[in-house]
């Protein structure tokens, strides 16, 4: 029998520090993940997200820019998550101090700041993972519902960074103030910050305020982002930098007190804090250089020209009075409404030299300058082509913050009015009296009585204006006269005078 003395001696080497530190940190992180308070609050946050972010979004048209306007554009997803995450993070950050364990944990082998960062990391992992799950489920439901376009992924990243920033800021509050009131104060501070962000953001369409997470100006105002052109990442990049800078600075602050660790560690924490502040400041500077473009906000320093490339697509087409009407496939649900709306007015102008040979959808552009929103329907080219930006119109169906759903008849009225304005050359303005009279006669022929036209124009107007009045006066007198002319004679008069009418050279006396 062999004895133990004959066996080769196996030397047990102490594990190297480089190997044990990550393993120990991973174990500590696992413990913190299991003992974290965040999972207890997540059901409440999920319920609030459903109530405040998801539910209102389903009341809008099924296009990503409209569905996500309230929850991503105006930052309600961040409002639903941020303050609660900040409160729970403050509770976790104040844990050792509240329990009177600060001295005890300061004496352990691991620096206190490193242990605190692990606690924060566990809190942030829970919060960000929950955010991504909730948003992922929401987008999956949208996809199931056939929402058109592409999701605003950059804005999802902004939300995830915002949740991280709230967790870091809340944790720093708890670390510095180990009190039972740290959590509600951090959550209240989060709410107040978001309220102030809304207070400032809604009023500023340019400048530094674009960095605020609830400012939707210049990014979610048009329905065609992610449909005709990609979501521009410029402003999201600046916001990610800003929120990331806040997170880094807050975590660095937690490492500054004497009990956080050794001198070198505290110096590193100071450098990290300054780096975070610098990052946030740089982002503010970038946001203040943003300028509006047709597709959203552009920040020259981070802009990639590749993002200006339109998204290619195969249009879906129908016919209205024999004229092909083609839309982006994202707008397929509204093709029958569009052809039905255009058919009466196209029938009226069929055969005229300036009548459109086809109608095609174009991207809705952001307003530039003080001229108000761009014209929803234009007519140009040889042969004439009707260019329609449906994103500028209220589409039939649910309408978010309108007074109620948009009726098919209301949409048809808007479309016919925009067509008549484009056809007579009136454009976005009111046009000359002769153009107004011909426009009124065309609308009357398309089934919109004179008495209803003033109300229709008032509803289509963007911004304040005079209240709709009665259909009286010389313009409507001329329009009534034109409407009583036999269709063939009216057609012949239009064929002869259309160019002069569009040029604004006719007066009411020139009408038959």
């Amino acid at each position: 029998m062999a004895t133990a003395t004959g066996a080769p001696v196996r030397q047990h080497r102490a594990p190297r520090a480089a190997a044990t530190v990550p393993l120990g940190a991973a174990r500590l992180l696992r413990v913190e993940l299991r003992r974290n308070a965040m999972p207890w609050i997540l059901p409440l946050i999920a319920a609030l997200f459903w109530f405040d972010s998801y539910r209102p979004s389903t009341g809008t048209a099924p296009l990503y820019a409209l569905r996500t306007f309230w929850n991503m554009g105006q930052g309600h997803t961040i409002i639903d998550f941020g303050p609660f995450v900040a409160g729970v993070a403050a509770w976790m950050g104040s844990r050792d101090g509240r329990r009177g364990l600060a001295d005890l944990v300061t004496a352990t082998a691991r620096p206190r700041w490193a242990a605190q960062l692990t606690t924060w990391a566990a809190t942030a992992i829970w919060a960000v993972a929950a955010y991504l799950v909730v948003v992922g489920v929401t987008f999956a439901v949208y996809a199931y519902q056939g929402v058109g376009g592409t999701p605003p992924w950059w804005w999802v990243a902004v939300g995830a960074t915002a949740v991280t920033a709230f967790s870091a800021a809340g944790f720093a509050v708890g670390a510095y103030w180990p009190s039972r009131f740290a959590a509600p104060v951090a959550a209240f501070g989060g709410f107040l910050a978001m309220a102030m962000s809304s207070q400032t953001g809604f009023r500023h369409t340019s400048g530094w305020a674009l960095i605020l997470p609830t400012n939707s100006n210049g990014n979610f105002d048009q329905a065609d982002a992610g449909i005709f052109y990609p979501w521009l990442p410029d402003l999201p990049i600046a916001r990610i930098m800003f929120l990331g800078g806040i997170a880094v600075a807050a975590l660095g602050l937690a490492g500054l007190p004497a009990r956080a660790g050794g001198q070198w560690l505290r110096r590193a924490a100071a450098v990290i804090t300054l780096a975070g502040v610098a990052l946030a400041g740089t982002a503010l500077g970038l946001a203040s250089t943003a300028r509006p473009s047709a597709h959203g906000m552009v920040i020259p320093a981070v802009h990639d020209a590749a993002n200006d490339t339109p998204i290619t697509y195969t249009p879906v087409c129908g016919h209205a009075a024999g004229v092909p009407v083609c839309l982006n496939p994202a707008y397929r649900p509204w093709l029958p409404d569009m052809t039905a709306a255009l058919a009466p007015v196209l029938t009226e102008v069929a055969g005229l030299p300036g009548a459109p040979v086809r109608a095609t959808q174009v991207a809705a552009a952001y307003p530039s300058g003080d001229g108000g929103p761009p014209q929803a329907i234009t007519l140009s080219g040889h042969p004439p082509v009707l260019r329609m930006s449906l994103g500028s119109l209220d589409l039939p169906g649910p309408c978010g913050f309108c007074d109620g759903p948009v009726a098919t008849r209301q949409f048809a009225g808007q479309t016919r009015l925009a067509f008549a304005q484009a056809f007579t050359g009136a454009g976005n303005g009111s046009g000359s009296p002769a153009q107004q009279a011909v426009q009124a006669a065309l609308l009357r022929g398309a089934g919109i009585p004179f008495a209803a036209q003033q109300k229709l124009m008032a509803s289509a107007r963007n911004g304040p204006g005079p209240a709709p009045g009665p259909a009286t006066g010389p313009v409507y007198a001329a329009a009534r006269r034109l409407a009583t002319v036999p269709a063939a004679a009216r057609h012949a008069w239009l064929a002869a005078h259309l160019a002069a009418l569009r040029a604004g050279q006719l007066s009411l006396k020139d009408l038959p």
Binding site: A37, W40, I41, L44, A47, L48, F51, D52, R55, P56, I79, D80, P83, F84, G87, V88, W91, S179, R180, F181, A183, P184, V185, A187, F188, F191, L192, A195, M196, S198, Q199, F202, R203, F401
Partner: protein, 231 residues
């Protein structure tokens, strides 16, 4: 000798006068109340409520309004009222657990008195802050909103624990914000109703009464005794 004889006065001893007994009881009661208030961090709560009053005054004085109409103007004052309700809820947190629950038969009354007193003080602080003018709905709406939200905070403390009682008023603020934006008018979201609206006032009263009754009878969820976040 048995323990039964221990409570009997010693033969020949003079029984304490009734006035001395009452004075001792009053001193003991005051000491109990003082210790209770300190253990609940009521002094800090009072400081925070005073700070919220100043914040409300500043917000109204400098017109921190959110653009978007009358409903949006309510949001910042409502946020401050929510903060006050959250502070009241968090004072219910008890760190001692079982020993305190077993030993203190006056605890329910102390909980009730503290919650009522803090709500009244919060109302006073915010009403003083509202003196800057421009408070949406006036003092009546402030009283209704604050009382209702304090009730929600107390209910949240019963369910989640005193440390997490703040989540109730904060969640209610989000619900109110959504209701204001979408013009919902259920009386259960009383801040959306007119100050003299009876339905909103009844709902707010029901909630504060339910909160006070439950916090008195049952107390906040204890850390460690039941699974929950407040451990």
């Amino acid at each position: 000798m048995t323990a039964a004889g221990l409570h009997r006065p010693a033969p020949g001893s003079v029984p304490p006068a009734a006035a001395t007994t009452r004075r001792n009881l009053a001193a003991a009661g005051w000491q109990l109340a003082r210790l209770y208030l300190i253990s609940r961090r009521v002094p800090m709560a009072l400081a925070l409520l005073a700070g919220l009053g100043v914040l409300l005054w500043t917000a109204l004085r400098w017109r921190w309004n959110i653009a978007g109409g009358a409903a949006a103007r309510q949001f910042i004052p409502l946020t401050i009222q929510t903060g006050a309700a959250a502070v009241i809820a968090v004072t219910t947190y008890r760190p001692f657990g079982e020993p305190e629950r077993v030993a203190g038969r006056w605890l329910p009354w102390l909980r009730l008195a503290t919650a009522v007193a803090l709500t009244a003080i919060a109302f006073g602080a915010l009403a003083a802050g509202a003196a800057a003018g421009g408070m949406p709905g006036g003092t009546l709406a402030l009283l209704r909103n604050l009382a209702g939200m304090a009730g929600i905070g107390l209910l949240a403390a019963v369910v989640l624990g005193g440390a997490f009682g703040w989540t109730g008023p904060m969640a209610y603020l989000l619900i109110t914000e959504g209701a204001l934006a979408h013009r919902s008018a259920t009386p259960w979201v009383w801040p959306t109703r007119a100050p003299h609206d009876r339905g909103g006032a009844i709902c707010a009263c029901l909630v504060i009464v339910a909160g006070l009754v439950l916090i008195t009878v049952r107390g906040p969820r204890e850390p460690g005794r039941e699974p929950g976040p407040a451990s």
